[in-house]
């Protein structure tokens, strides 16, 4: 008979929260879906549970039960990251692990066929429990026969439990208190009012009566508990890129030849993706390099090593790590082979390999592709915005992601707070609005230039920049910008200065720092 185990890390998001805010340990605390008094409580710690706070309540409701109830959100990405780490860990104990899609911290493991690796199921379960403890996680591990049964028992018990027979499992299931399960609060409350405390009590209700009164979800729970229906065990399937490994007979350092090698295999990989109705979103090329050959200067392939200083331990280890991974991301998921090769070429030319490669691993990661994307295989080039997008993608590939940005206007008082640079993903057709106001062109310096403390008192007048500009002959201002008292107090008195040569400079006196700064120039 197949055996199955459930690993339950109770209130995993709660634990993540307490790890982030250790001072909350020992106080009633909850995880909520949003930072509002009406936010829903998703997870509670034992102190809060003891005070009657339950998942499903509103925060304000919980606060009325416990005056000092702490609350915060836990981002889904944080939970997903931890679940992913746990999954990796559990894969060390069973090749087949299912991650609960509804409850973070719940996993099912196939426990069959492990007798050669572990003396007994008990030892296996205990090892899992120990691994979890070593990771700093409290877990219940229950080995049994039915997917729902092991889940329910794991919810109710702590530690390691191996249920020897289906009968034992059934008895344990009947003893599980409904309060341990993450039931809909209303359903739980109604069942409690009917005097039903355990799954055994719940199973005494007629199935159709449950459906009639409480709906499909409750009926399904009843059926799962009764064993009249089963959820299949669905082990997690790791993401499979289309990949290949290229072993080179001789280490290859020439980028052109390497490009041809990549191209030879790329077409096949793209076909694999296309068959899965996917387009390539990322191409990963992993070079294994051979340092037995002549050393090359960092940054330029083929140039001799000229640095007389012996390489540091870090350099050596990095070099002997024999790996370099390049990730090429097109603007959109694509199956356009020419475009992708262009990007690969740019990357290899911009950042050549420090040593000849002896092996290349190429992985093409896909994303769901629409019909249009699949049509790229038809090779119908035409001039449009996407061409510009591709050009920008080339720039990004050559110079990095931060190379292509655009200015976005922001509401702020400080000049530098009135705009921000943001990555430009796609181009749009411009639609300038006619302005009734005259436009001043003012060049802002990325960083204001300090002018010191006493520039106005020099004998020859106020020389702001250099002697060629001459001294200041007129000034307008002050125009005061102040604020930020809740973070860092700012107080700037701005002036426009006209120099003898006719330059118009934009300076300010920084009150808190007691210094003058040149912030820009009118052109």
């Amino acid at each position: 008979m197949d055996r199955l185990a459930c690993v339950d890390l109770p209130d995993l998001p709660m634990e993540l929260l307490l790890a982030r805010v250790p001072s909350w340990a020992g106080h009633p605390a909850v995880v909520i879906d949003r930072d509002k008094p009406q936010g829903e409580i998703l997870w509670v710690n034992k102190e809060a549970r003891r005070a009657g706070v339950l998942p499903g309540m509103r925060y304000a409701q919980g606060l009325s039960l416990v005056a000092g109830l702490r609350a915060s959100e836990v981002p889904p990405s944080e939970i997903a990251g931890e679940v992913s780490g746990l999954l990796e860990l559990l894969h060390g104990f069973s090749p087949y692990v299912e991650v609960s899609s509804e409850e973070p911290g719940v996993f099912w493991l196939d426990a069959s066929g492990l007798s050669r690796l572990f003396p007994s199921l008990w030892d296996w379960a205990k090892a899992i429990h120990g691994a979890m403890a070593a990771r700093g996680r409290r877990a219940a591990v229950v080995v049994g026969f039915r997917r729902f049964a092991v889940y329910a028992v794991a919810k109710a018990l702590d530690g390691v439990h191996v249920l020897a027979t289906p009968e034992e499992e059934e008895a344990a299931l009947h003893r599980v208190e409904l309060a341990c399960l993450r039931l809909d609060p209303l359903l739980y409350e109604t069942l409690a009012r009917l005097g039903l405390r355990t799954l055994g009590d719940f199973l005494r209700l007629p199935a159709q009566g449950v459906r009639r009164r409480f709906g499909e979800a409750a009926h399904r729970l009843h059926a799962l508990a009764a064993g009249t229906t089963h959820d299949p065990f669905v082990p997690a399937r790791p993401e499979e890129p289309a990949a290949c490994l290229i072993q080179l007979e001789e280490p290859e350092g020439d980028s052109v030849r390497l490009l041809f090698l990549v191209r030879r295999h790329l077409h096949r990989l793209l076909w694999q993706l296309a068959k899965r109705e996917e387009a390539m979103r990322e191409l990963e090329i992993r070079f294994h390099m051979d340092f037995q050959g002549p050393l090359v200067e960092s940054g330029r392939l083929g140039a001799p090593e000229t640095d007389p200083v012996p390489p540091s331990w870090g350099d050596l280890s990095r070099r002997r790590g024999i790996c370099r991974t390049d990730r090429i991301r097109p603007a959109d998921p694509t199956l356009d082979e020419r475009l992708i090769m262009d990007l690969v070429r740019l990357r290899l030319e911009a950042v050549p390999l420090p040593a000849p490669a002896s092996e290349m691993g190429i992985s093409a990661f896909g994303a769901p592709a629409g019909k249009r994307q699949l049509q790229i295989f038809l090779e119908r080039p035409r001039r449009d915005l996407s061409a510009a997008d591709r050009a920008l993608a080339r720039l990004r590939a050559e110079l990095g992601d931060e190379a292509v940005v655009r200015a976005r206007l922001k509401e702020g008082h400080l000049p530098e707070a009135r705009f921000a640079w943001e990555p430009l993903g796609h181009l749009r057709c411009p639609s300038p609005r006619p302005s009734a106001r005259p436009v001043l062109v003012r060049r802002l310096y990325a960083r204001a230039i300090s002018l010191g403390t006493r520039p106005r008192h020099e004998p020859d007048g106020w020389i702001v920049r250099d002697l060629r500009c001459g001294p200041v002959v007129r000034m307008w201002g002050p125009y005061v910008v102040s604020g930020g008292w809740w973070r860092t107090e700012v107080h700037r008195a701005y002036y426009f200065l006209e120099t003898l040569r006719g330059d118009i400079l934009w300076v300010y006196y920084d009150g808190p720092r007691r210094r003058w700064f040149l912030h820009g120039q009118v052109e």
Binding site: P37, A436, Y479, S482
Partner: protein, 1085 residues
Amino acid sequence: MEPYVPLWVKSHYSFLEGASSPEELVEEARRLGLSSLALTDRDGVYGVVRAHVKARELGVHLVVGAQVTVGVRPDGGGISGSPRRPKGEGRPTDSDLRPLSSRIVLLAVDRAGYSNLCRLITLGRLRSPKGEGCVTWEELCDHAGGLIALWGGLSWEPEPAPLAERLREAFGDRLYALIARHRQAEERQEEARMVARARRHGLPLVAAPEVLYHTAARRPLQDVLTCIRHKVTLATAGRLTMANSEHALLSPFAFRALYEDLPEAVERTVEVATRCTFSLAELRYRYPSERLPDGVTSSQWLRRLTFEGAAERYGGRIPSEVAAQLERELALIEELDYCGYFLTMWEIVRFCRERGILCQGRGSAANSAVCYCLGITAIDPVRMDLLFERFISRERAEPPDIDLDIMHTRREEVIQYVYDKYGRSHAAMVANVIRYRPKMAVRDVGKALGLPETSLERLARLVPHHGEVTPWHMKMAGLDPQAAAHRHLLRLVEEIQDFPRHLSIHPGGFLLGHEPVHDLVPIENCTMEGRTVIQWDKEDIEELGLFKVDLLGLGALTHLDLCFRLLERHRGVELSMAAIPPEDPATYEMISKADTVGVFQLESRAQMSMLPRLGPRRFYDLVIEISIIRPGPITGGMVHPYLRRRRGEEPVDYPHESLRPVLEKTLGVPLFQEQVMKLAVVAADYSPGEADQLRRDMAAWRKAGRIGRHRERLIARMRAKGIDEEFAERVFQQIQGFGEYGFPESHAASFALISYAAAWLKCHYPAEFTCALLNAQPMGFYSPATVIEDAKRHGVEVRPVCVTASDWDCTLEPTTQIAHCDEGGWETRSPLAGRAEGGDPDPMPRDAFAVRIGLRYVKGLGRRDFEKIEGARRASPFTSVDDLVERTGLDKGVLSTLAQAGALERLTLPRREALWQTLGAKRATHPPERVLPMDEKELVTAFSELTPLETVLWDYRTQGHSARFHPLAAVRGQLRSMGLPTAAEVAAMPHGRNLRYAGLVICRQRPGTARGVTFLTLEDETGFVNVILWPDIYARHMATVKTAPLLGVSGALEVEGKIVHLIARSVWVPEVTLGEAHGPSRDFH
């Protein structure tokens, strides 16, 4: 030479924009050496009265004005191109005006200008949602008379070509171009544009930066207020907040430096202020005239009504002293031209009588024989020797204040009657400004600072309703008081205290005017439909000496009215306030035992602990009882001397024979405001009006120290009369505690009438009393749970809610006593039995009726649900749960609540079975399309019976009380096993006994007069136990005392006569699980 005048100044009455009070602005102006200041709040004159008072005090000239929001209609507004509307044509009613960023500041030159300003603001406000206002250019021009307009501000809207000409035409030389400088670069262009416009149209420039606070230190608060107004945080506010802190009042030097290139614009500020000669002191107010019979003056009409009423009151023979008093009062009323006000009140009372709405005048109006004869009040001031001058005095020259209590459920009828009678333009309700208090401040300021809302909610629940938010509160909420954001929070919460947040309505104050009210003060909309409200509150009205009609809701009158109706319906006894037998010994006996739960004014914990000491035996004792439990007499140290004299433990003496008539009825101890005034008249030769001024100064002594000027005079004159100096000093100390903290005798007497009526009904008709009290909820001191438990202890049978028997309200049902009456006769006779010969004596016993709880008490059951039940059961009685479900069509939630409340027990048992059935009934199923047919048999499921504790718990959860058990009766076995006695057993224990007791907390109090002592009232199924916690004990157990619904107390018993107190040594939480089986407690009110 005048330095300059700030002409564009907004106080914190520009809600959530200005960051200083009008008083602070005036004081700062004075400090800076400015002799004039304008107050120009946004679309309102909310702050002008306070500014006027402060300006008068400091000798600053106040220019009254407002910044008015102007908008255009989507078609571009009414100026450009469109012909002018003829005067008198209906105003536009469009509410889709788009506000412009142009600023128009209007300043009142004269009285006519002020009227125009008020009318214009009213126009804009009444068409807009609450809190907003917007007028058109056309309307602005129509109201230009007597107003100076400063036109400017930041505006990029294209200027309609004829606009400037039209404004120029309307305002003439009273139109100025406003040059506002706040040291912002963007202003230069706008200013250039403004100057060009001014030159083009020949407008003089005037310098007027926008002032939002009196000093720059308020800038952070102004930022926060802006964030609150726009519902953003400081981090996301962007340019919604001001760019800098250049919005403070400037010194003359700084102002001239700011406008050094425009000296003529600075000079012009003085010119503008000089032109504005209007002062609020010019406001003349006329009370509206009543419609009178032909040829009769209001004075004659009042006289006629008064004497007709007197004849009725005194059975046709008006006693000579009454007639003399009436003559004296009528002469003064006529002299002061108050006749209209009395006639209005008479009209309102007459309306109430005609509609059967119970009402009664309260307060100092009961000092007036005219009010008594007009039926406004119910106390005979002549018989009670009440002081008329407490009500009206020539010296005071202030309008009288008649407060009319109206049964609270029908007050709205009276309010709408007043609106209908006088019209919306001549009657508007007085405002009540909602101000920041700690809880709201923590939430709003914290949000603006970007703090987590959950943390703020936690903190807000911990801070007190009034007072300071301290680092200790922060720590309790798990927040670090040293964190920068939290320090900002503490400081800003402190600063924002008392700042106006929005406008609300006074509970019942009306301003009526002969001229339209909107000539005096703008009127605006309220959230509540059918209500309009003026922009001034009660204190503003009083300050300006305007007449206010107070129509207040009083639950006790509703209670009495319902009780009278029950008596008439079930016993055929017709009763009214006047018909209740006076001076009933049984009633006083009950009162003296402090058996007064539900009795108006006598039910509070403090009153109940005083009643056995005072032992009221006649009506006047009740008047004293009501007056004596007030902060005034308590802090004045009058309670114990009075009690000792009353018990004969101390001789009743008078410091001077001349004071005997004044103090005789209170055994030589002054207890009422009138006595204080009479003392001043008799002992210190004050005139009655001066004596009233003394009372007013006493009321304000904490604020202004105005009492000091009376001290010397009082003591010196008393000494001169031969009164011992020590006594004179003591009297002065005593009367200092009065003022607003003491009751006038007339007010106490009015309340005592209601109290006596309620007590009499409780004493003789407890079932009717309880039933009416439950139907009048919410009102009174105690929760319905306590009222029901008290009724049960008095032998009233309280029957639980039942779907087949309960009405919407609680009702009376015959008990078995009625069935027995034919055989054995009545054991208990009604107090009215045989009273009226041949009339309708009440032949039924006291316990002839039981109270059936009404369905209104089932939470979540609405009136419409009840009507469905009522309609179905009228057709035929329900036979089963399915029958109920089928014929009423109630939804699942309501049905399950009814089942849990035990309302279906007559249809099926146990309650869990009923719940299961209602959940599965055909109409209640979910989802409907997957329902099994009703005839399909379902496996029978056996559900357990509820335990007694579960029964109580379910009752409380669904109704907030239990008609079946007291929660502690359900766990009495457990409590017994812990060796805990009942309240009845505690009451029988001797003085000094050490004991442990546990009860439900129904009241927590820490009065300011008790020097930190905390009082708790605990309840169980047998009665109450009063607990006293000394400050150190309270401090040690504060969290438990404040939060535990079931509390255990260990301590020693203090018994003084019939007064029993448990003096706590420690408190604890008993290990008994009650869940939600407890009612709400009355905490720290």
